[in-house]
């Protein structure tokens, strides 16, 4: 008998999850996450120590051995009751010192170059990998980043998300920028479905809760090291690749 309890959902999923007669099917599962196709989105039920994303539901007593019927019942019973709604949309009106943030990111990332191909391409001039050529002017090379690299969210996609984050912080996200990016990331087979969702969410200004924490710390001029550490622990190199994108967007 499972005892999964929904504790947090992102605000942006509320409308989808409140629909009656949701179509739910199994997608994939990991140690701390189980993904379901729900209303043409892939939504993850996840353990409470993972960051809430625009497409996840945070649970207590997580188990990856639950089935579609269980999830259907759980959503009907739990939503709108005890679970907390979390806003993962970036605050677009923050002012901050670009140089300080860039320097802090530099100090934090330079020692971690070995953990990420993208950071290696940035910080080690002698290491040549498939990111080395395109890292120099990322903005004109977005199409070459999409889907590049291994894993659930390819490193190139994580990098782009970080780059978009930087553009939001710098208030440089124009409708044209969004449109161009959207076309690039939605090319057929450019990347996998899960990663594409995160890319589209980032284009619309939605990021995971650790990033929102980082943005809030930057906004309030508070130390960012804890947020950076938390982000850097996401995935094998995902968090670091994302921070690499943020770092280069501030150049």
């Amino acid at each position: 008998m499972h005892n999964l309890k929904i504790i947090e959902i992102p605000n942006n999923l509320k409308r989808i999850l409140n629909k009656s007669d949701l179509e739910i099917s199994f997608h994939s599962k990991y140690k701390k996450t189980i993904n379901f196709n729900i209303d043409s989105k892939i939504i993850a039920f996840q353990d409470s120590d993972l960051p809430l994303t625009p497409y996840s539901i945070k649970t207590n007593n997580f188990s990856s051995n639950v089935d579609v019927q269980y999830i259907q019942a759980l959503l009907k019973l739990s939503l709108n009751k005890e679970c907390k709604l979390v806003d993962l949309k970036i605050d677009k009106k923050i002012s901050f010192d670009k140089i300080i943030l860039r320097n802090n990111l530099n100090s934090f990332l330079v020692s971690k170059a070995e953990r990420s191909e993208i950071l290696s391409a940035i910080f080690s001039k002698s290491i040549k990998n498939h990111f080395s050529g395109i890292i120099i002017v990322p903005e004109t090379n977005f199409s070459k980043f999409v889907g590049l690299g291994n894993g659930l969210t390819p490193a190139g996609d994580d990098f782009i998300i970080g780059f978009i984050l930087g553009k939001y912080l710098l208030r440089k996200v124009t409708p044209e920028f969004k449109e161009k990016l959207r076309k690039t990331v939605n090319v057929k087979n450019a990347t996998n479905d899960i990663s594409r969702q995160f890319l589209n969410a980032a284009i619309d200004g939605y990021f995971n809760e650790f990033i929102i924490e980082l943005v809030n710390s930057v906004k309030d001029n508070k130390p960012i090291i804890i947020s950076l550490s938390k982000i850097s622990e996401i995935g094998a190199s995902s968090g670091l690749d994302l921070l690499a994108g943020l770092y280069l967007s501030l150049k």
């Binding site: 994939s28 080690s124 590049l148 894993g151 087979n189 450019a190 090291i225 995902s238």
Partner: protein, 515 residues
Amino acid sequence: MIHNVIKPNTYFDSVTLMLFSSKLNSVNGIEQAAVMMGTNHNKELMINSGVLTKAQADKAGSNDLIIGIKAASQNIIDQAIKVLNEQFENKTKTSSNGAEIKVKTVEAAAKAVTDLNFAVVSLPGRFAKAEAMKCLQNNMHVLLFSDNVSLEDEIELKDYAVKNELLMMGPDCGTAIVNGVALGFANVVRRGNIGLVAASGTGLQEVTVIIDKLGGGISQALGTGGRDLKIGVGGKMMLSALDALNADPATEVIGIISKPPAPEVMLKILEKVNKFKKPVVACFLGGNKTSLGKTKVYSADNLEQTANALVALSNNREIPKNSLLKTNTESLLNSLKLKQVKGKYVRGVYTGGTLAYESMLILSSKLSGVYSNIATDKKYNLDNPQISKENTVVDMGEDFFTDGQPHPMIDPKQRTLRIISDAKDNDTAVILFDCVLGYGSHDNPAESIVKAIKEVKNNRGDSIVFVGSVTGTDRDPQNRINQEKILTESGAIILPTNAQAAEFVVTLVSKLGAK
């Protein structure tokens, strides 16, 4: 032949996929193998690497996992598939084999591994103290790589460490070798009976490397951080480290390397080492030998002398008067076309702080007016560290240059540019440089120097001389012999130690003056 397997809608994280790829590549006879998600770019990479056919690539979508194997025979491919299937099975059985414990906090690490006793802390300065303290409180010795830690925080950390008999190396401790394990920037050196304690990173590297060249070996090389011997900290860690070396059965001879300590601190150090039975060699760079008073401590003038003395004492031999690594400078001078050399000044462009400091001392003792961004005499402080004047030694690892930039030992680009800009000054006759190898350093620092030499020589031909030394061993990842070869092939004069390089430059500049 190429063999491809496509697993529809199969997701693994990148570490798992890299593990799969590496297991496949380790199968005997496999020419190349890769396991990747089938995104357009990944498919292109796999096709270009020769592990995926176009036909198979067209069948796979971005949510599918592609396995690509290139081998000479079907037998080898079958063997590889068997290995891969085992990996898939293992992965689905258990997601973690426990070989690597992932933790997010110091407390969790201490809980997960019961006999944890050493931590390296490298965080931006203002956050470093809290984490270092947590490590000490969990009974770990600490190497604190970070700089920009306040003096008050350093004292608090070191007081706690002393009280609890722990080592608190740093802040700003860049180098250490503990029980044979190199930490921070350190070289691959022989193990032996010489224990070192230093308030200097590249000073410690240079001494360990020369000891290695002379056939000696290192028991422990401990760092204290640059401020330890100042009056505020009072040598707390130097004194603890000396006690540790004295108690260490593997250490038979002890070496101390630092800039001159505050007089009160010097007294405490001498009082302590005078009680030791083990011989002690001290190199207080730029200090006054007489300040050692009547002690049994052997005082060395430079880093090379320190290593010479330590190796001799470690073999129960008399300390030699001349360096055992001495080169024939006369023949080196003869190899140069001195008549063609233009200018009269030397420009030392360094990545290593203590190496820069040592050169500045050697040059200042013989040449007039040596300017620097680390000058001890304020009169010779560079107004703008970016601009050299007359004779100059610049430490490119100083905060001015590293703020927001990687240290030049990691990324020597800024140093390369500085060599080029200094050589543009027609009054510059000699460029003096270091080339620091070892863990943590750039993987080909010689190449970045040669890049500058080539560019300079295009304009100035033989009217400028390049002189340097390589701080490294043959077993370092960059390999000293290869690095020296790269440099000498470009026309640079390479001496066996930094002190000798600086002394050679003094001779060279005097000859140029007399020309």
